[in-house]
Symmetry: C2
Subunit: 488 residues, 2 copies
């Protein structure tokens, strides 16, 4: 287990630095008489009477006749710390949003909502905040749409700061899940010369200000055109051939000209690749366990933050999440899915003939049909899947060993497949697609110690939407990038 702390190693000498800023240092030293404490630590404190120093931002100010009441938040928890002071410590610049540095004593709170409160002896306003200009107002609840206009400030709202704490913990949980299951984490590249899957919708990259010169025999910085990755899969397949089980977790890109609630130009994907498997069952087991283990971790480690969403933005969603955790995920074949859709009374916009791709409307219907639990759809039409998907060599309905995980509210959350490990089958398919030269290296992986293998990817933002009951992908990423928008 990892066990590392910030405090363990003795402080670095400051002698040289002090010479240059003795005034700053003296101020610093006098403050240091009180221990710096995070708000979350103070709230969890069992000891009263201890002298502490809190630094954060004011979330509410209530001056009364004798006393002044403040709520101070420093981002370590959703709940602020209540600060009580004599009203003579009140100043004009003590407003909603200002930054404060407070020393005082932790005391038992008479208020049932919190264990402790801080009796302040000193309140310093470190940074002022003009409440007229500040886009967020005290005691007002701002919609997610409104806060989206302020990408540099929205992390100071309760909802978005809760979201980012959840995102950080979910990231840690995913990495821990894979590490403890023996997967090696691989930093697959963002820049790639593959236009994987021939997917179109690629971003191309070149040095800024680069003017293509027709006289230059090599107009590309990398000698070849370079793109932003749409998936780390092919690079993970390289690594699965050495480590048996690998994963990557990072940004991927799609130049989709879409303003949809479900798409971003830059989004995060968790991708895993497993060697020595010849069954979709193994992949589904990892997907289901990843989903459940990560969600259980988030529910237990971010209970307060998750509750904010489940209580105020998606009432009733907690029951949905509990159901997903309790129930085994369903499995149906693509062929069965088509039968279900065809026999339904719903009018779909897109075709439900065998051989057609499933659209969001179909995915959502299937999830509902299966009782609002996640459902795996397996064995898709061969022609719908990219060259690397393993041919099931069945008939008359020709399928590939591919799987999608559909979840309530979102539709497709994960996509995966067994990969074609048979060199002659893969070689033929690449030749048909005219890709044999481009993917010579990929074919070589099958020449030297090839093994049956498969993998999947999970959209991380969609995962967050699914567990929190939110609807717009722009609300679950720190800085959203989509067509016509790349703020900051």
């Amino acid at each position: 287990m990892l066990s590392l702390t910030l405090q363990r190693i003795p402080a670095v000498t400051t002698s040289l630095f002090c010479k240059c800023s003795s005034k700053v240092l003296q101020r610093h030293c006098s403050r240091m008489l009180s221990k710096k404490t995070r708000v979350s630590e103070a709230l969890a404190s069992k000891e009263t009477g201890s002298h502490v120093r809190i630094q954060g931002w004011v979330r509410s100010v209530r001056p009364q006749k004798d006393n002044l009441f403040l709520h101070v938040n420093d981002g370590s928890s959703l709940q602020p710390l209540q600060v009580v002071a004599s009203s003579h410590l009140n100043t004009r610049d003590l407003t909603f949003g200002c930054a404060v540095d407070i020393t005082g004593t932790l005391e038992k709170s008479p208020n049932k909502k919190q264990n402790v409160e801080l009796k302040a002896q000193r309140i310093e306003v470190v940074g002022e905040c003009n409440p007229v200009d500040f886009p967020f107002k005290i005691k007002e609840r701002h919609s997610l749409e409104y806060t989206r206009q302020f990408p540099h400030l929205r992390c100071r709202t309760n909802a978005f700061s809760s979201l980012l704490r959840i995102r950080s913990e979910a990231t840690a949980a995913i990495q821990s899940f894979f590490r403890e299951s023996g997967f090696v984490q691989i930093h697959t590249p963002v820049l790639t010369s593959n236009d994987c899957e021939g997917a179109g919708e690629l971003f191309q990259v070149q040095p800024a200000g680069d003017k293509k010169d027709s006289d230059d025999p090599n107009p590309h910085f990398f000698s070849v055109p370079a793109y932003l990755t749409v998936s780390g899969q092919l690079h993970l397949e390289v690594m699965a051939g050495a480590f048996s089980a690998v994963y990557t977790f990072g940004p991927t890109f799609r130049a989709e000209n879409s303003q949809s609630r479900r798409h971003l130009a830059e989004f995060y994907m968790v991708e895993a690749e497993i060697a020595f498997t010849d069954s979709l069952d193994d992949l589904m087991k990892v997907m289901e366990n990843l989903f459940k283990a990560t969600t259980e971790h988030v529910l237990s480690h971010c209970a307060e933050d998750v509750e904010l969403f489940h209580k105020y933005m998606a009432p009733g969603h907690r029951d949905q999440v509990d159901l997903m955790l309790k129930r085994k995920f369903d499995v149906i074949s693509y062929t069965e899915a088509i039968e279900i859709l065809k026999s339904s009374s719903q009018n779909f916009t897109f075709s439900t003939e065998w051989g057609c791709d499933l659209h969001t409307e179909h995915e959502k219907f299937l999830v509902k049909h299966c009782g609002n639990v996640p459902v795996f759809v397996i064995n898709y039409p061969y022609e719908l899947k990219p060259f690397y998907a393993r041919d099931n060599q069945d008939q008359p309905k020709h399928t590939a060993a591919a799987v999608d995980l559909l979840v309530p509210g979102v539709g497709e959350l994960c996509g995966g497949s067994l990969r074609e490990e048979r060199i002659e089958v893969l070689s033929q398919r690449l030749a048909q697609a005219g890709l044999k030269d481009t993917y010579e290296w990929y074919l070589q992986l099958r020449e030297f110690g090839s093994v049956p293998h498969g993998g999947f990817g999970m959209g991380f933002e969609r995962y967050l939407l699914c567990i929190l009951g939110l609807h717009n992908i722009k609300d679950v990423i720190p800085f959203a990038r989509f067509s016509h928008s790349c703020l900051l």
Copy 2:
């Protein structure tokens, strides 16, 4: 603490899948009579006599009269598992590099080098490997330069697989260090509309096949030019204003036309930002603790892998690492550094006048001068530093509160600074640089609850070079991207 395992949740139903691949499944089931075991688990096993199944790649084949000896590796450890079988199990396709699936019994090994060996009852060659075509040869030690030619296969060499296990563990250690110290992890964007620091050397991004049309009033996908990030700092500063302590760990980009051993076009950076600090001392403490805690974790969790490098590629380097861990890092001011350089007898290529930037030759000299331990250089000339570095407002030598960490063998490992939090000082500097409109949002951070803060970045590949004693940055990243090279 995180505690998640792959096994915890019951297996997914396979009934539907089975229909489609009953032959595969039957084969699968017969194999399942033996439990699948990773090589690392088998090697650590105390129980002998247990029936296991191992899957991996053959690293050596030694046929003898009665017995066949194999070494099998599955990427879970550097050390392979010795397999002993009756020679009648030998087949022509059992060669170096082939993939095997073996069942047998773990028994106590007569060999002192290992606890156990596997007495094989069944050996199946899953994927052949033609030893003539395979670029790596049995019992040959291949140079790092040689293996670099095969980016899709080099992870199958001992050295590169050890490197990637170390990289994965170091990543986990860094994330754990920050998490346990109360930092929130932020996924800062790869795509940005800032050309941060006006640094030049930017990559620009646009949809592939995008033809600029002079009639189109808005020729950009994002309405503005978009670049690949050179640093997540400005986005982290946004977040430090809400969470007090944040970090990011991900890829950053530089379009440097350099084939140097120290530069890549895509490399990983750890960046941290801390609010409520007015002293470089706080930043140096975090940098030193990060370095030491991560290194201690890697040395204890990847002892065997690290030893490979320290024993065969950088003899004597372990002592260097131990010294760095034991000794407190040095601190000197830039002014002192210049005095040291000027009074030395060494002839430097670049100027050592006050006001000039430190180059690698200077950095390496300073590290040696300080006894080959890491050294912080603080308070650089104001004019050398970007607009966000905090003005020390000193004279006659005008400096900014910036810090670099120099380490043996590598030179600059980390760079950081206090950030200018005073709105009037920042505003003036931005105006002078003609950047006031571009960074209006950045200025606004100082308008609403501004706090003294600072941060730093650490080059992850340089960190790996430093602790392993390696010299070429291309040897410590899964897929190296640099000018004229973007393989795979």
